[in-house]
Symmetry: C2
Subunit: 110 residues, 2 copies
């Protein structure tokens, strides 16, 4: 899974970005999103009690691909692939655009 970037990104965000460079928001939000997705796939798979190879077979790809998807640094997530994974695990993908900054709206994280 190669987790580590998250905490780093957090520091960077607080220290360098938020005060004066909102343009770079994008790349950061991107990094977060990617990481979140990677982690969700990982969680989904392990909770289902599957190995990467097993899930790969269900999805119709190989284990190295699953590994790549679970890498927090991977930036190539597509709806197509996410949906394939979801379908294999009897789920569906739901995406939402949630406001950052000006709205403390509660996060629905289960």
């Amino acid at each position: 899974m190669k987790k580590k970037t998250t905490s780093d990104a957090l520091k960077i965000m607080d220290q360098r970005y938020f005060d004066g460079k909102p343009e770079r928001q994008a790349e950061l939000e991107q990094a977060f999103a990617e990481d979140a997705v990677a982690r969700k796939i990982y969680t989904l798979r392990t909770k289902a009690g599957l190995t990467q190879k097993q899930l790969a077979k269900m999805v119709g790809t190989t284990d190295s691909v699953i590994s790549r998807l679970e890498d927090a640094d991977y930036e190539g997530h597509s709806m197509a692939m996410l949906t394939r994974i979801a379908a294999a695990l009897d789920k569906r993908v739901e995406i939402r655009f949630v406001p950052i900054r000006h709205t403390p709206q509660p996060v629905h994280e289960h």
Copy 2:
């Protein structure tokens, strides 16, 4: 926006797929997801009072690309692009894998 596929897909789902062909679940869920995404982008943009061209500029692309993203039949959504759009509108992308079938869990559709 070219809406129309949704109701069709609904019919198809009920009549042909659900009874006997769970393998094709994937492509259907896919279709739904794509449509949902397209619609969300459209809603986001119009609620922000922007034209495709305006949003395109903010995102760093052209209006034809935005149009394509808002097409319910488009299947090429990527996290990268969704995140760029979100960032331009001061939002972030959140994805979730939600159970289908065995869990009547309420849908959080705003």
